[in-house]
Amino acid sequence: MKPTSTFKLNLHEALKKAQTRQAINQIGKTAVALLDEHKTLEIDFENIVLTPSIADGVIGALAQSLGLPAFNERIKMKNLSDNQKLLLKHVIIRRLG
């Protein structure tokens, strides 16, 4: 049976105790795994200092795992600033390239 639920991921909370590359990559892996059980993943970027490493380790990993069409369909991102959107586009395209 296909999952139908939405999982809400507060990135600020997830990163509070985890800022090394290793920890960031683990959040990315966990996010990818959540999509086995949930149809969509809603990621909240409120209060996030979005570094290139966080962008790549979490969002880049999701984009690489899903491909762009499925990423657009299943990943919902909220409270993104214009600057953060620009960085994410670079990271996603690079991962997909």
Binding site: Q22, V49, L50, S53, L86, H90, I93, G97
Partner: protein, 308 residues
């Protein structure tokens, strides 16, 4: 006891930016410490302090004698705490502005502390550079992103054998409208790190590794949370601001200042590990958005491909 001799240089009113020769000269002086022939500049910047602290820590020295005035300044920056030495008994009270400068060691004892340290250091140094200056929110955001990224890099690449994987130091000189942050580690260095990525071997054979590492998208570990944007972001921000970016690793140094001064150098002395210095005009823009917009736009994609 390892002692600096002291030379007096007439101070100018204009705040000059750091040049690559300053770095090379200073690394020589560190090497000269052991023979008692080191010459200490009369004006210390963050890059002097981080390298001095890490150098002493690596060698396990227990005594250091600086000229009296510099000793007070270095003490106020926390140098003696970082190198586990008692400050000189005759140390004068520093005239340095409280809160405008600090030396921050990366010395977490547990993984949990390590996770907290990155944000803690980045936040504190950013606040020191722009204290009570909310109108500079763009600069504050940009600086915090840079520091979080680069301190994370240091944690990943540094060796921790000496209990001091890395150091950061920040100083602002409001009257000179200049600020400098220096981050140093004693890790494997840029060349060895980039060599882990086989795709870079050809470039490494013909290029200065610090110049290569400063380019957009260059990383030792592609697709592993190492996007290769961190150093490029700092370099581009400094150029946008007409500031200065210097990256030293081994005997390779890359210098970029403004939009037209970029040069690679091979020094006649080496630093084991990596030293990053960035220096900028406090009142000029640091705008990550403008940098992201100027990065290459990959072909085959446009705005409509994304749902955000």
């Amino acid at each position: 006891m390892y002692e600096f001799s002291y030379i007096t240089i007439e101070k100018t009113l204009i705040m000059e930016t750091t040049q690559y020769e300053d770095i090379e000269h200073w690394i020589h002086q560190l090497e000269n410490l052991a023979t008692g022939t080191a010459i200490c500049p009369d004006f210390l910047r963050p890059f002097h302090l981080v390298t001095l602290a890490l150098f002493i820590k690596k060698l396990g020295w227990t005594e250091l004698c600086l000229p009296e005035e510099l000793s007070a300044y270095a003490g106020s920056m926390g140098l003696f705490d970082v190198i586990d030495m008692a400050p000189p008994s005759n140390m004068k009270k520093s005239s340095a502005r409280s809160g405008s400068c600090e030396l921050r060691p990366f010395i977490p004892e547990t993984q949990q502390q390590k996770e907290y340290y990155i944000d803690d250091i980045a936040s504190n140094l950013t606040t020191m550079m722009y204290p009570h200056m909310p109108s500079y929110h763009q600069n504050i955001e940009s600086l915090k992103i840079c520091l979080t990224e680069i301190i994370g890099n240091s944690f990943d690449h540094a060796e921790q054998k000496n209990g001091l994987p890395g150091l950061a130091c920040a100083q602002r000189w409001p009257k000179g409208n200049l600020a400098q942050i220096a981050v140093v580690d004693s890790g494997i260095g840029i060349r060895k790190s980039l060599h882990l990525n086989e795709d870079l071997h050809t470039s490494l054979n013909s290029m200065n590794s610090c110049e290569l590492a400063s380019q957009y998208g260059i990383t030792s570990k592609p697709n592993a949370g190492h996007s290769g944007y961190g150093l490029a972001l700092i370099k581009d921000l400094m150029q946008q601001n007409s500031g200065t970016y210097i990256l030293l690793s081994g005997n390779e140094l890359y210098y970029a200042s403004g939009n037209d001064q970029m040069q690679s150098y091979l020094l006649d002395i080496s630093w084991k590990g990596t030293l990053l210095i960035f220096e900028w005009r406090i009142d000029q823009h640091l705008d990550v958005g403008a940098v992201y917009n100027n990065w290459p736009h990959p072909e085959g994609y446009d705005e409509t491909d994304f749902n955000f």
